[in-house]
Symmetry: C5
Subunit: 353 residues, 5 copies
C-alpha cells in the first residue's frame, strides 16, 4: 500500500509525448501468455510465445481468451495490438497502469479497464484491461496471479452458460469474479475497524490504534478511487453503451452492478465509521486527560498548602510562640486535618470526587 502511493505516478510519459506512445514501466513483469480456445464442444489450452502464434489460434465458431500477465515487453504488446486491430490509445492505456476505470467502444473491440484486488494481507490492486472483440477476449494483467481460477474451472467443466455463450459472457464472468474478490478485502477492513473499535472503547493500545485507523482510512480511500469509476463502467455496460455486450449478458451485468453498489455502500459506511472512531478516540483521550488532571489537582491542592504550613513551623526564627505552646503540635494537626477536610468537601461539591 505504502509503496503503492509512493510509486503511483513514477513511470509517466513526458508531457507532450505523441498520443499512443507506449512507455515501459521499469517494474513491469515479463509477459506470460495463456490462451484458451473454446466452443460449445471443444476446449483447448495453449501457451503462445508470440503475437503471431496467438492470433493464429482464432478459429471460426470458437472463442479465444488470451490472457497476458506482465506488461514489460512493449514490442509484443505493439504486435498484439496490430494483429488484433487494437487502437493505439487503447495500447497506451493498457501500459499506463494508473488508469481510472472506464469502458470505451472502438470499431475493432470494446475496451474496459479497471482495478483488480489481489488476495493478501496488504491491500494490493493491479490494473486489468479487457479487449473484447467479436470472437476473442484479451485480458492484460500487470502481474501474474489473479482471482479467475473458478472461472477457468467453470470453462473446463463445460457446465452452465459459459461455454455456450460468446466472449462477452466470459468478460462478464471475469468482471463478476473481480467485483466479488473485493468483498473479502472489505470484510478484512471491517474486521480491522472492529478491532480498532474494541481498542478505542477499551482505551487500550492507543497509539497503535491511531496508526491503524489511519491505515484503514487510507486503504478505503484507495478502494474508493477504484470503486466509484467502476460503478460508472458497470452502469455503461448495463445501459448497453457497448453493443458488443449482448442483451442476454446485460441481465447478468445488472447483477454485477448491484454488487458494486453494495461495495460502495459498505465502503462509505466504513469511511463514516472510521471517522466516527477517530472522534470517539479524541473524546476519550480528552476525557482521560480531564480525569488525570483532576487526580493531580486534588492531590496537589490538598497537600501543597499543608506542606507550606508544616514548612512554616520548620522555620528557625527566634520567638515563634506557637512552637512553645503546650498543645501546639496537636493543634497544628487539627488545622491540617481541618484544611484537608474543607478541601475534600469543596471537591465533592464541584463533583470532582
Amino acid at each position: 500500500m505504502r509503496g503503492g502511493v509512493r510509486s503511483r505516478l513514477s513511470h509517466r510519459l513526458p508531457a507532450g509525448a505523441s498520443p499512443g506512445t507506449l512507455c515501459s514501466n521499469p517494474n513491469a513483469q515479463q509477459p506470460v501468455m495463456k490462451a484458451v480456445v473454446y466452443s460449445d464442444s471443444v476446449l483447448q489450452e495453449h501457451a503462445p510465445k508470440t503475437a503471431a502464434e496467438a492470433v493464429a489460434l482464432r478459429a471460426k465458431g470458437q472463442t479465444l481468451w488470451l490472457d497476458i500477465a506482465g506488461l514489460a515487453d512493449l514490442t509484443l504488446l505493439r504486435e498484439i495490438g496490430e494483429r488484433f486491430g487494437l487502437h493505439r490509445l487503447v495500447l497506451e492505456d493498457i501500459t499506463n497502469s494508473q488508469q481510472r476505470a472506464k469502458a470505451e467502444d472502438f470499431s475493432s473491440c470494446a475496451f474496459v479497464v479497471l482495478r483488480m484486488a489481489n488476495p493478501g494481507d496488504q491491500l494490493d490492486t493491479e490494473q486489468l484491461s479487457f479487449c473484447l472483440g467479436n470472437d476473442f477476449l484479451i485480458t492484460f494483467q500487470e502481474r501474474s496471479g489473479d482471482c479467475f481460477s473458478f472461472v477457468r474451472q467453470r470453462l473446463a467443466d463445460a457446465k452452465g452458460k459459459l461455454r455456450t455463450s460468446g466472449p462477452d459472457y466470459l468478460a462478464y464472468a471475469l468482471l463478476d469474479a473481480i467485483v466479488d474478490a473485493y468483498f473479502p478485502v472489505l470484510e478484512q477492513m471491517g474486521e480491522h475497524l472492529n478491532v480498532a473499535e474494541d481498542s478505542v472503547l477499551a482505551s487500550q493500545k492507543n497509539v497503535e490504534v491511531i496508526g491503524q485507523l489511519h491505515e484503514v482510512r487510507r486503504d478505503l480511500l484507495v478502494l474508493r478511487r477504484a470503486m466509484w469509476p467502476l460503478r460508472e463502467v458497470t452502469q455503461q455496460l448495463t445501459r448497453g453503451d457497448l453493443p458488443r455486450f449482448q442483451p442476454e449478458t446485460r441481465v447478468y451485468l445488472r447483477d454485477v452492478q448491484d454488487h458494486v453498489v453494495q461495495l460502495i455502500d459498505l465502503l462509505e459506511n466504513y469511511r463514516e465509521l472510521g471517522a466516527s472512531l477517530m472522534d470517539v478516540h479524541l473524546a476519550l483521550v480528552s476525557y482521560r486527560i480531564n480525569e488525570v488532571m483532576k487526580v493531580l489537582t486534588i492531590i496537589a491542592t490538598i497537600f501543597i498548602p499543608l506542606t507550606f504550613l508544616v514548612g512554616v513551623y520548620g522555620m528557625n526564627f527566634k520567638g515563634m510562640p506557637e512552637l512553645e505552646w503546650a498543645y501546639g503540635y496537636p493543634l497544628c494537626w487539627g488545622v491540617i486535618v481541618g484544611v484537608a477536610l474543607c478541601m475534600l468537601i469543596w471537591f465533592r461539591r464541584r463533583g470532582w470526587l
Copy 2:
C-alpha cells in the same frame, strides 16, 4: 448489532462462482412454511411441507400468500423457484442475505428485497424478499418472527380492501407494516440521544456517554444503509416501474414512500444531533480541563513560592540575621500574606477568579 457488523460478509460465494449459485449460510434457520389462500369470501391457512404441496394451493380466483421463514434448505428453495418460475438470479439474491434493497421486474414475478427491523432492545435487521406473481405472493424471511401480525389479523377479519384486492395489495400491506416497524426503532434511538444529551449537558457519566453516542451513531449508519435504497424502491413502485403493482395500489404506496422519506428525515436529523452532541461533549470536557487547570494553577502559584520562602528560613546556615530579628517571624507572615494577596489580585485581574 456488534455481531451484525462482524458476520456481515462471511458466507459469500467464492469469487467467480456461476451466477445463480445458491450458497448455504451456516447460521441459516431451517425453513418454516406458512400459506394463506384467500379470496373475497374464503380464507384457508395451511402449513405445506414441500414445494409441491405449496404450489398445489394455487387456485383460480384466489390469492396465495406463501411465507417462508428460514433459508437453510437450498433444495427446497430451488424447487420453489422452479415450480413458481422464479429466475435463478432471484434465488441467488434471496439466499445472499446482504442485499441492498431493490425492486426488479421479471417475466414470472416482480421481485422486491429489503431489510426489516425486528423488535427488541438491540437493533436487529433481517432480509425480506417478496416474489409477487399474478395470483401469489411469496415472502422469504431469514428467521421466523416478523411484524405482520396486524396484517394477518386484517386478512382474518375480512374487513377493508385486503381480502378483495389482489396479491399486490397484500405486498403493499406488508411493505407498510415493515416501514412502520422502523418508527419505534428510531424512536428508541431518539430516546437514547435524549438521554445522552442530558448526560452530556449535565457532565455526568462521560465515558459511558461517549460509547453510547458511538453506538447510536453506528446504528444510525446501519439504518441509513437500509433506508436510502428503500426510498429508491418505493419511488420505483409508485412510479409504476413494476406493472404488477396495480394503479389503485400505487396511491397507497405513495403513502409508504412518504413514511420512508419521513424516516430518512428523522434519521439524518439524529445523525446531525449525534455529531453535534459529540462536539458539545468535547467542548465541555475542554472547558472542564480548563477549569481544573485553573484551580491547580491558582493553588500552586500561590503556595509554591510561599513554600520556597518558608524553606529559606528553615535552612541551618550560620549567620542568618533575619532569624535573630525581634519581629522576624511576624514580618515573615506579613510577607507571606502580602505575596498571597498580590497573587489573588493578579488572578482576579486575569478573570480566573
Copy 3:
C-alpha cells in the same frame, strides 16, 4: 422544544394497521370549530358544533373557511371527512401530527400539510393541514392559537383581493402568513447566536454558552426539517401541480416561495455560524488552557528547584561545610537569584513571557 423531541413518535399506529385508520393522540385538544362564509359582498362568522352544521354552511357563490383547532375528536373528523368528501388517507395524515410537509391532489380536494411556528420564547411548531375544495377551505390545527389574525382582519375589512377571490387565494394568504411567521422565529435565533458570539469572543459564561449554542443548533435542525419540505411544496404549488390553485394565485405563491428560500438561506447561514462558533469556542478554550499551563509551568519551574535547594540546607547532616561558611547564607541567595534569572531568560527566549 425538549418535549417536542421526546414525544415525537409516541402516538403512532401499530405497524400493519389498515390504511386510513385514525389514531387518537392522547395529548390532542378537543376541537374548536370556527367557520367564515364570505363572498364579495357578504361575510358571516359561525361556530358550528357538528359536521352537519358545518357542511350546511356551504352556499352557492360563497366561500366557506372552516377552521378546526384540536384533533382529539376522531368521530367528528371522520364525519367531516365523509361530508366534505375527503380521502381517508388525507384524514390519516391530518391526525398523524408528525407529517412531512407535502401537497397532494385528490379528486375532491387539494391537500397541503405543513408545520406552523407558534409565537413564544421556545421554538414550538404544530401541524397545519389544508383541504382546499371548489368552494371551501378547511384548516386543521393541532391546537388553538395561530398567526392568522391579520388574515381574519383583511377578510373583515373587505379590502384587497381576498374577498373577491376564491378559497385558493385564502389558502395562499394563510400560507403566506405561516411562512412570514417563521421570520421572527429565525430572527430570535439570530439574536441568540449574536449573544452567544459575544459571550464566546469575550470568553464569558462558557458552560452556558455551549449549552445555548447546542440548543440553537438543535432548534435549527427542527426548523430545517420543517423548511426544506415546505420548499418542495411551494415549488409544486407555483409549478401548478395542484390545479385547484388558480394561475392568478400562483403569481403570489411565487412570492411565498421566495420567502421560503430566503428562510432556508438564513437557516443554513445560521447553521454554519453556529458550527463556526463552536470551533471558535474550542480554539479559545485550547488557547486559554495553554495560557494557564504557561503560568503554572513558569511558577513551578522557577520555584520547585529553588525549594529543593533551600531544602538541602535545611538538612541536619553533620559536617555540611557550606553551613559554616561566613558568606554561606548570602551566597545561597545569590545562587537562588541566579537560577531564577536564568529561568526567566530562558522563558523569554521561548516566547512564554
Copy 4:
C-alpha cells in the same frame, strides 16, 4: 457587519399582511432622485423631486435612467410604481431590503434585485433593485453612495456602446460594475486571511487571530449568501429568460456571469482556507500545550522526589544514623545527582529532550 446581522430581519411586515403592502424601514434614508436622459446624441442630467417630474422626462427615442437612493418615502415609491406601471409585488420587494437576488419578468418591466458591496473597511452591502422598461431603467438603492461613477463617466464621454444601446445595456453596465466591485472586497478578505495565516504559523497574537478568522469566515458567509443567488440571476439573464435583455447584450452578460463564477470560486477557496487555518491553529496550540507540559513534567519529575529526599534529612527524629555518618552529606548529594541523571536518561529515551 455586526449591525448587519443584528438588524437583518427587524423591519418585516407582520405575518399575514396583504401582498404588496409597503413597510417603512425606520432606518431608511430619505430618497434622492437623479435622472439621466440620453440618446445617441443627447445627454441631460436632472434631479426630479416628484414622481410626476420623473415620468415627464421620458421621451421618444431616448433612454431614461432614474436612480433613487433612499427608500424612506413610501408615498413617492407608490407613485413611481403607479406611473411607471410597476407591479405591487415589485414595490414590496424593493422596500423589503433583505431580498435574495432574483430576476423576474413582468409585463411592464423586467425586475432584478441583488446586493451591492459598498467600498470601505467593513463589509457593508445594500440592496439594489433594477426595473428595466422599454425606454427606462430605474435603480433603487438603500443609501446614496455607489460604485457607478465609471459608468456615469462613460455615459458622459459618449464613447463605446453605452450611449448607442438601450436601457438593457445600461443595466448590464451597472451589473458589471456591481460584480466587479466585489473583487476588491474579496481581495481584502484574502489579505486578512494572509495576515491571519502568518500570525497562526508564527504562533503570534493567538486570541486576536481566532476572532479575526471568525470575522472573515462570517463575512464570507454573508458574501456567499449574496453571491450564489446572483449566479442564478446571471444565468437566467444569459439564458434569455428575461427578453427585455437583448441578444446583443447577452454576450456581455455572459462575461458578467464568468466574473460571478470566478468570485464564487475564490469565495469557496477562502472558506476552505479559513477552515484549514482554524485546524492549523488548533493543532499548533495542542502542540504547544504538549511542549509546555513536557517542560513542567521534566522539572517537576526531577525535583519533586529530590525535595522529598532532602525533606527526609530535615526531619528532627532522634536516632537518624545517616545524619551522623562521616560521609552522609556527600553521599546524599551523590544520591541526588544519581536520581537526577537517571531521570534525564529516561526522558531522553522517551524522546522528551
Copy 5:
C-alpha cells in the same frame, strides 16, 4: 505560491470600466513572439517583431502557430487582435490573468483559456490562452518558459499526425502537454504528503509538519481551482461544442479529459489524506499530552504527600512525641514506603502503569 495568493487580484480594472478595456499588469513581461509555419512538407520558424510581420506569415495550406510569451505590450496585443479578428472580450480575458478555465466559440476563432503549471519546487501556475482560427493557433503565455518542448520536437521531427493535421490537432497536442505537466506537480505533493505522514506517525518534527501539511492543502486548493473548470472545458471540447475542433481530434481530446478526471481523482484523494493526517496529528498530540500528564501526576501524587509527611517531622514544635520514639525514624520510613506502595497499586488498578 505565497506571492500567488497575495497578488491574485491586484491588477483588476476599476469596477464599471468599459468591456474590452485592456489593463496592463505592472508585473507583466515584455512579449516575445515565436512563430512556426508548417504544413505536411514544410516547417519554418520565425521570430516576428510586430503584429504585421506575424499576420504576414499566414499562408494558404499552411498552419501558423504564433506563441506570444509576455502580456505587457497592450498595443501589440490590440494590433494582433485586430489583424487576426479576435473579439475584444477575448483580448480582455487574455490580459486579465486570473481567468477561470473556459472555452468559448467566436465567429473568428475558438477561444480556450486555462492555467498551466510551470515546473519547479514551488507550485507556480500561469494563464495560457488559445485562439484557434481556421489556419492559425495563437497561444498567449504570461511568462516565457513552458512545457511545450516535446511538442516542438514532434513538429520538427515531422512524424505522427501533428504535421499532417490542422491547428486544432496542434491545440490538442499542447492541451495534452499542459495536462500531463500537472502529473509531476501532483506527484510531488503526494511525496510531501508521504513525508508528512511518516513524520506524523513517527511523532517527529511536529511543528514543521503542521506548516507543511497546511502548505500542501493550500496548494491542493489552488490546483483544484485550476482543475475543476478545466474538466468542464475538456468536456465541452469532447462534446463538440466548439466545432473548430474536428471530430478526428475529439477522440484524442477524450484522452485528455480522462487525464484531467484522473488528476481530479488524485487531487481529491490527496485532500482527504491531508485532512486525515491533520486528524491523526491531533489525535497523537492529545495522546501524548495524556501520557505526559500521567507521568507528572504519578510522580506528583506519590511524592507531594510524602514531602508533606517529612515536612511534619521537620517542624520545631515542643513536645512532638514521635520524634522521641526509639523506632520513630524507621517507622516513618515504613509509612513512607507504605503510602508509596498504595499509590502505585492504585495507579496500576486505574491502568496508568
